[in-house]
Amino acid sequence: MQKSLKDSGGMGGWLVTNLGRVLISLIVPVITFVVLWQGFIFLRDSQAPKLIIVLVAIIWGVGGVALLYTVSNWLVEQLPIEWTQRLQPFVFVGPGVAILFWFLALPVVRTLILSFNGPTGKGFVGFDNYKFAFTDRVMLETFQNNLLWMIFGTFFCVSLGLLIAVLADRSRFEAIYKAIIFMPMAISFVGAGVIWKFIYTYKGEGAGISEIGLLNAIVLAMGGTSQPWLSQPPWNNFLLIVIMVWLQTGFAMVIISSAIKGIPSELLEAARIDGATEIQLFFKIIIPTIQGTLLTVTTTIVIFSLKLFDIVRVMTGGNNGTNVIANEFYLQRFTYGNAGRASAIAIILLIAVVPVMIYNLRQFRESRAF
């Protein structure tokens, strides 16, 4: 079949000999489209029981994507072989690249343009939004708080992660310890927010009232007075940072631990025979060997704390001096309805991660994966 169409020469001759094929090739995509559209309409308008809608949604979503790939690949394979070879890569790579452009690459440009426009996204205002972002009192407070998050949050995550990784390496129960420290990684920030809000909760003084929050109960037991912890700046920021440390230390620990496991045991043995103490071992061998990993973990957590949103949103809503950049972004866009200012804040977030982006690109070029 493939050979005969080469002989007939050119697209025109091929069309004539394959009229039936062309017709089918037109009908199949139309049917596919109709089926998928019907599914969409059903999901949007149906009043069916929730369970059925959920099942249909999953089948429609996953099946639809698989169907689209199969049909478009089938279409391309109906073409003459040189066209198949030319177009098939785009069937494979195209959808992914298209979605990346729609959801990440183009928005960078579009948000940049919006950041020079007014609240509704229209009307050029020059650098006004940036002027707001860098001079407004609220914004300066968010920068200050994010700095706290980035410095203290990262420091405690990485150093605790390192401590636990090194200690657990010497224990028979390593797996259990690590699983416990790692477990909060599976918990949502909202869930973690509830967990810690309960610890910080405050009922105040009064007849017959006993504190049900763990922190205040401990303070009372030690002879202090209970406090409304989350409404007292600047300490409330640190209480929120504790939550991030609780959530993210597991991440640091796992990555650092696997790096420690990668240190050749002969190296450690040789140093021990030479009479090095465990502390010398730690500072002179372990730390220098896993430097690269420590740097990666630190950058990852710094970026994480830069974009942090959920914890602050759930715990304090950014009130009482706990506001952070990502929460101010949300407030500007969705509470005050100012798309221009929100865009400027998003661009500032992007600029803050550009150094990491450049580093990643450089690493990628050196790896010569291509």
Binding site: S171, I187, V190, T201, L349
Partner: protein, 357 residues
């Protein structure tokens, strides 16, 4: 020997600190709302506490506005109300307001395990039933429960496709980048690497504009696409690293046998990549299930997922700990199960993906 003991002791202390917060809400979620309101969750364990042993009626002839003498001890009403420890160790507390004329006698005794645990909170938060309880002043309060079971279903409808779709798309793309030749291949992949750390906030404003124009806001499709877009750079990057390292001869012999790219992809590459797919799948599933921001922006109040439903309870009923704790625990069940069952794959995915910000 001593150093091993110290290592384990330190780790046990740290682990206890790590586990107590979760443990606290776990216990609390099984206590009834009145108990939660009155005493800390740790009181379910055996402890020495005041137990009511008797009541004393105050004679109507006593002037409650002046000093009141009970059993030879004299205090003002306010002091009685706050509780007075008698010389013999009993604690006397005025119950209610001045008109009740009732004093409770409490004695310090050992209290055993509290066995008054209940599943009521879970029932309430999962369905939409009304719940009644008494507050500190004895007033009855009626609150409506939250329909968290609907939110769990929505979360499943969001998380399952939002995990599988990006994997499918990324797998095709990774195969294309690894084993096919086309113009712009290197440039496009460089863009993928660059997009790894782009914060998703950058996309929210313009994408919301698009969704409004397309009338997609609040639909499952909208949030699947958004999660796919935000998860794709890491997915393509991870799967490319894996797929491009599969042995070349397997593919070549398949080509010689006349197999097309599509057949090779579906019958060879997909099965061979299962470990990498699993790593990313767990990663993405946990991320989507636990996500709050994307769901808040694109789903709004229709089709609320578990995280937004829970956050809504925090906002509306911040002191209703019986709902909050059971709700939080429900939201954690599935991710914790996935996490403990597939921890090994998850760790592998983390190690491979630590370039992402």
């Amino acid at each position: 020997m001593l150093s091993s003991f110290l290592v384990n002791l330190t780790l046990i202390i740290i682990c206890l600190i790590w586990i107590i917060p979760t443990f606290g809400i776990f216990i609390t979620s099984f206590r009834n709302s009145e108990d939660i309101f009155r005493t800390g969750w740790w009181t379910i364990f055996p402890h020495k506490g005041y137990v009511k042993v008797d009541e004393i009626k105050i004679d109507p002839s006593v002037d409650v506005n002046g000093p009141i003498t009970v059993d030879g001890v004299t205090h003002t009403f306010e002091e009685w109300r706050a509780g007075v420890v008698m010389p013999d160790g009993r604690q006397l507390t005025w119950f209610g307001n001045k008109r009740t004329r009732l004093i409770e006698v409490n004695d310090l005794q050992w209290v055993g395990f509290d066995t008054r645990l209940t599943l009521e909170n879970y029932k309430n938060v999962l369905t939409g039933l009304e719940i009644r309880f008494k507050d500190g002043n004895g007033n009855e309060i009626v609150r409506k429960g939250n329909d968290l079971s609907g939110a769990v279903l929505n979360s499943i409808a969001v998380a399952v496709p939002a995990t599988i779709i990006p994997i499918l798309i990324a797998c095709f793309a990774a195969y294309g980048f690894a084993w096919m030749n086309f113009p712009g291949r290197k440039l496009l992949f460089t863009i993928v690497v660059a997009l790894l750390v782009v914060p998703l906030q950058i996309a929210l404003v313009p994408i919301l504009q698009d969704y409004t124009k397309l009338n997609l806001n609040g639909t499952f499709l909208a949030i699947w696409l958004a999660h796919t877009g935000f998860g794709l750079p890491l997915a393509i990057y991870l799967l490319f690293n894996y797929i491009s390292q599969l042995p070349r001869d397997i593919l070549e012999s398949a080509f010689i046998d006349g197999a097309s790219h599509f057949t090779i992809f579906t019958s060879l590459i997909l099965p061979l990549s299962v470990p990498a797919l699993a790593s990313f799948a767990i990663f993405q599933f946990l991320w989507v299930w636990n996500d709050y921001l994307v769901a808040l922006v694109f789903l709004g109040d229709q089709n609320r997922v578990v995280t937004s439903a829970l956050a809504a309870i925090v906002g509306e009923k911040g002191q209703d700990w019986h709902l909050l704790t059971s709700g939080a625990f429900i939201s954690m069940l599935l991710p914790l199960a996935v996490f403990f069952a597939l921890q090994r794959y998850f760790v592998r995915g983390l190690l491979a993906g630590s370039v992402k910000g």
